[in-house]
């Protein structure tokens, strides 16, 4: 599948508050912990070899489960495969907590849900739709009952 690699690499160079050297272990049997520069930009987690400018890879942080594993490490499980997790080792419990929190909040779906919550509440409290002033009240992505407007996509073969 093609993707806009240069643009994604440019994105990985954007400033981010969540960027640190962490121990990182892949999900496969036999993967070991390696020191990586891990950087959170929008809903992607980029990881670099510590002395390199180009990231090794990018993980999309949607539909994933982030959990603390022990006091200083957390894991991310993707693809509904609870046992296949990426493990990240932090330097402190506090840092670990920050990462878990940040990754959860970075998810687009998480932000969308909060937006819908605020929209509903503001409307309830004020009688006004706060998205009207921006001309986006009809955008499907911001609809309250988003899930009811589309037919299920048959993507079983994907």
């Amino acid at each position: 599948m093609r993707f806009n690699e240069k643009e994604l690499m440019s994105l990985s160079r954007q400033p981010s508050e969540m960027a640190a050297e962490l121990g990182m272990r892949g999900p496969k049997k036999g993967d070991v912990v390696k020191k990586r520069l891990v950087k959170l930009v929008v809903n992607f987690l980029f990881y670099f070899r510590t002395d390199e400018e180009e990231p090794i890879g990018a993980l999309l942080l949607e539909q994933c489960r982030v959990e603390k594993e022990d006091s200083q490490s957390f894991s991310i499980a993707f693809l509904d495969e609870a046992e296949r997790k990426y493990l990240f080792e932090c330097d402190s419990e506090e840092q670990c907590g920050e990462w878990v929190d940040s990754i959860i909040k970075a998810s687009y779906e998480f932000m969308r849900k909060n937006l819908i919550f605020y929209r509903t509440e503001i409307h309830r409290l004020t009688g006004k739709d706060p998205l009207e002033q921006y001309g986006i009240s009809d955008e499907t992505r911001f609809q309250v009952n988003n899930g009811q407007q589309f037919t299920t996509r048959d993507t079983s073969s994907l």
């Binding site: 993707f78 309830r124 004020t126 309250v144």
Partner: protein, 262 residues
């Protein structure tokens, strides 16, 4: 760089709905011909394949750091995604008709994570204001929008210096103010698509924390939203003018719906 594609395709096919899908023509870079592709927009990801229901995805475009522009020079119903930066691409598209073009442009303008992040922060603040104003006087709530423009300190910086991103990456975010193409839609419609008095919608993990506690992911917005708004108002104005020029001549009557940015 390895993009873990399975994560993207899995996200695409999971139960949460897509934001938009349909046929568009995509211009090939090399020989300037157009190829019809089926596009699926979900979050800040634009996927494309030959036909709906195809097993094979041809590609994906991550929509961060790009501006959406009307492209009159590319022909009718054309628009482009311009990634600003050295060596970065411009993707060119054409729709089958005006309404389709307009609807895709609108959807793409509000697709980026950056945009959503700004919007959520803003709504979070409006929510807090609305809660505080809830007791005394109904008339107060309508001032929350003007309060947005007048008050000076919306985003308390959490003890770190603000990191200002280069202007190009704000492109998608500048259209927080309604562009003229959308006013026709907004003007007459009440939000019928959403139930009134629905107080039972809650986010998955409970209400988000106060805006001041949001992680500053990707960028740190300027402290004063109204200043940000004014500062980029010029870019919005320019983009709007360019967009208006690219529309068909018959739609001159839309002038009556313009918002005067002053």
């Amino acid at each position: 760089m390895k993009l873990h594609e399975k994560l993207l395709t899995h996200y695409l096919s999971c139960t949460s709905p897509v934001d938009k899908e349909g046929y568009l023509y995509k211009k090939k870079e090399r020989n300037a011909t157009y190829q019809r592709r089926w596009f699926v927009l979900k979050a800040n990801l634009l996927f494309y394949q030959e036909r709906p229901g195809d097993r094979h995805l041809l590609g994906v475009i991550v929509l961060e750091g790009c501006a959406v522009r009307g492209s009159e020079s590319d022909g009718q119903f054309a628009f482009s995604l311009v990634f600003e930066g050295p060596g970065l691409k411009t993707y060119r598209f054409a729709a089958g008709d005006g309404p389709t073009q307009e609807s895709w442009v609108k959807a793409l303008l509000s697709a980026s994570h950056c945009y959503l992040s700004l919007l959520v922060r803003d709504l979070g603040r409006q929510y807090e204001e609305a809660k505080q104003q809830q007791g005394p006087g109904e008339s107060r709530h309508s001032s929350s929008v003007s309060a947005l423009k007048q008050s000076t300190n919306f985003f308390p910086v959490q003890g770190r210096t603000a990191v200002v991103r280069e202007g190009r990456s704000f492109s998608a975010c500048t259209v927080l103010q309604a562009p003229s193409t959308t006013t026709k839609v907004v003007a007459k419609k009440s939000p019928k698509l959403w139930p009134r008095r629905n107080a039972h919608v809650t986010p998955l993990n409970g209400p988000a924390p106060l805006y001041g506690e949001w992680p500053l992911v990707g960028f740190d917005p300027l402290e004063d939203f109204s200043k940000l708004h004014d500062y980029y108002g010029q870019e919005v104005k320019k983009a709007r003018e360019e967009w208006l020029r690219s529309r068909r001549v018959e739609e001159e009557h839309s002038d009556g719906h313009l918002i005067d940015l002053g």
